[in-house]
């Protein structure tokens, strides 16, 4: 709420904030309001933001839907790299599922996704590879997330076990 959106601005205005540097949405010195509006309508329906109108103020939305507005803006930019820090914390299951689906789609399109989460199921369901942090350091790296179970992860998370530096070092790709 402090960085992601301007509460008093409309959904449309929040969606377009990072898209105006190029000339895509401009008409001479003015903004192409019609094109922006169509694009915003598209995004609202693609990301299933529940609202009456894309001109409604963001503060009228529920937390999950505000999150979807942020996600819609950040995921539509063909990002090379996304840091998703607790992307589904505090929102309803439907919205969370939806954001998961979108994260996978982004991966498939070739974006690098770094998912940070305290929700173990989320981490294990979504990730291709896993890293575990303990005490501010990376203590384990699993190249294939499907080969690990919660018990194993738990031991690393509690700091009981620790991989050798060589094993951890595998996470660095050239």
């Amino acid at each position: 709420m402090t960085l992601g959106v301007a509460k008093m601005a409309t959904i449309e205005e929040n969606l377009m904030s990072t898209y105006l540097d190029g000339n895509e949405f401009k008409k001479g010195i003015f903004l192409n309001m019609k094109k922006i509006n169509e694009w915003a309508k598209d995004k609202v329906s693609e990301f299933i933001v529940k609202t009456d109108s894309e001109k409604a103020m963001v503060k009228m939305l529920s937390g999950g839907n505000i999150q979807k507005v942020v996600v819609a803006r950040e995921f539509s930019n063909n990002p090379k790299f996304i840091v998703a820090d607790q992307p589904t914390r505090g929102i309803d299951i439907g919205a969370a599922k939806f954001i998961h689906k979108k994260l996978i789609e982004l991966r498939d399109k070739g974006s690098a996704v770094l998912l940070v989460s305290a929700d173990l199921t989320e981490v294990m369901d979504l990730s291709d590879s896993l890293m575990v942090m303990y005490g501010g350091e990376i203590v384990a790296y699993f190249e294939d997330a499907s080969q690990v179970d919660e018990m194993q992860l738990g031991r690393y998370m509690l700091g009981i076990e620790r991989q050798t530096p060589e094993e951890i070092g595998r996470c660095v790709y050239e």
Binding site: K7, M8, S17, F30, L31
Partner: protein, 358 residues
């Protein structure tokens, strides 16, 4: 999931704003009624003068328009600055300096008609912009509160202006402290006979349209509004907020400067102000009434001007004084500025609508 796009919420909001505005005005006017009834010996006459005084004659109505012009300029200036969430009070100083600048150009620089006022107004705008940009520079460089520094600077610029007028441009033959007369080529043409309505009315309308387009249809205007809504969000989105603060205050000052020049060249033939005219501060009232919306600013300015002229009439025709209107104004502004006035009613309105939707 129901995802059809209906512009219903917007309508409710607008409807509510109109009701709220009407209620605020209704309440304050009834309060005025009550006070007049108590205070005046001839309450009916006072009320009649207050509300119908401005439309008694062409001249009086002309007075309303004449007063609405500088109020609109000031309201637009303040709106732009407030939209960026900067509480810059420098419009007063910028307005004054704009008028001084126009006087200097009108007296000292001989130019052909038509070009003369345009040059004077643009130069005045530039000076006004600089006046309002100073607090912004102080803020972004050293974190000084723009509210305090702009209020202080108003007096600096007021005295600077007075120094220039009284020492460099003073007409020693005039009875009071005043400058020498302007070149006729610099003055704005009067438009309507029997009134002093001048060309400035076109300048102000064009300015309002430009401000509207700038705020709502350009990238820089968008940046300005987002910075005002949530500066951290704007910064994160890649908007250069420091630049926004600087140019928003410059533009606000520019408009105030134009306003000062237009007022000076349209209404006077020599510079006579020996005190701050107060339009900059009135601009704050106008901007609050109009909720910083450039389209509503002229309406709010007209409303305020109407009330002022009505009070003027009431003051001169009856035993009631001009101060009455300050009371009415205060009540209206308080009711409109209060965010939660009638909030319960709005809640009910939204709930009702939601039920119909189901």
């Amino acid at each position: 999931m129901n995802n059809t796009v209906k512009p219903k919420k917007l309508k409710t909001d607008t409807k509510f704003e109109i009701i709220r505005f009407a209620a605020a005005i209704g309440i304050s006017i009834s309060l005025a009624f009550i006070i007049i009834l108590f205070v005046s010996d001839d309450p009916m006459l006072a009320i009649q003068k207050l509300f119908l005084g401005p439309i008694e004659s062409t001249r009086r109505f002309g007075n309303v328009i004449e007063l609405a012009i500088p109020l609109t300029f000031a309201g637009l200036a303040i709106s732009v600055m407030f939209k960026a969430n900067q509480f810059n009070m420098g419009a007063e100083g910028a307005f004054f300096i704009g008028a001084v600048m126009a006087a200097i150009v009108a007296i000292k620089i001989p130019l052909p008609p038509f070009i003369h006022p345009i040059f004077a107004i643009l130069l005045a705008g530039l000076m006004g912009g600089i006046v309002c940009a100073i607090p912004a520079v102080l803020k972004v460089k050293w974190g000084a509160s723009e509210l305090v520094s702009s209020l202080m600077l108003n007096y600096v610029f007021f005295n600077l202006g007075i120094y220039i007028i009284n020492n460099k441009l003073r007409d020693v033959n005039a009875g009071a402290m005043a400058s020498v007369e302007f070149e006729p080529s610099a003055m704005l043409t009067k438009l309507v006979p029997k009134t002093r309505i001048h060309m400035g009315i076109f300048i102000v309308i064009v300015t309002a349209i430009i401000v509207y387009l700038f705020l709502n249809r350009t990238k820089r205007g968008y940046d300005l509004r987002m910075t005002g809504y949530n500066m951290n969000f704007a910064k994160y989105s890649g908007i250069k907020t420091t630049a926004v603060i600087l140019y928003s205050q410059f533009i606000g000052g520019f408009i105030a400067g134009i306003g000062g020049a237009t007022e000076m060249l349209g209404m006077y033939s020599r510079f006579k102000w020996q005190a701050l005219p107060g339009y900059g501060f009135d601009g704050i009232i106008v901007a609050i009434l109009a909720k910083n919306n450039p389209v509503l600013v002229p309406v709010a300015a007209f409303f305020l001007a109407y009330l002022r002229i009505g009070a003027d009439r009431m003051g001169s025709a009856t035993d009631l004084t001009y101060e009455m209107v300050s009371i009415i104004q205060g009540v209206i502004i308080m009711l409109i500025a209060a965010q939660s006035f009638l909030a319960k009613y709005k809640q009910r309105m939204v709930v009702k609508e939601a039920k119909i939707d189901e």
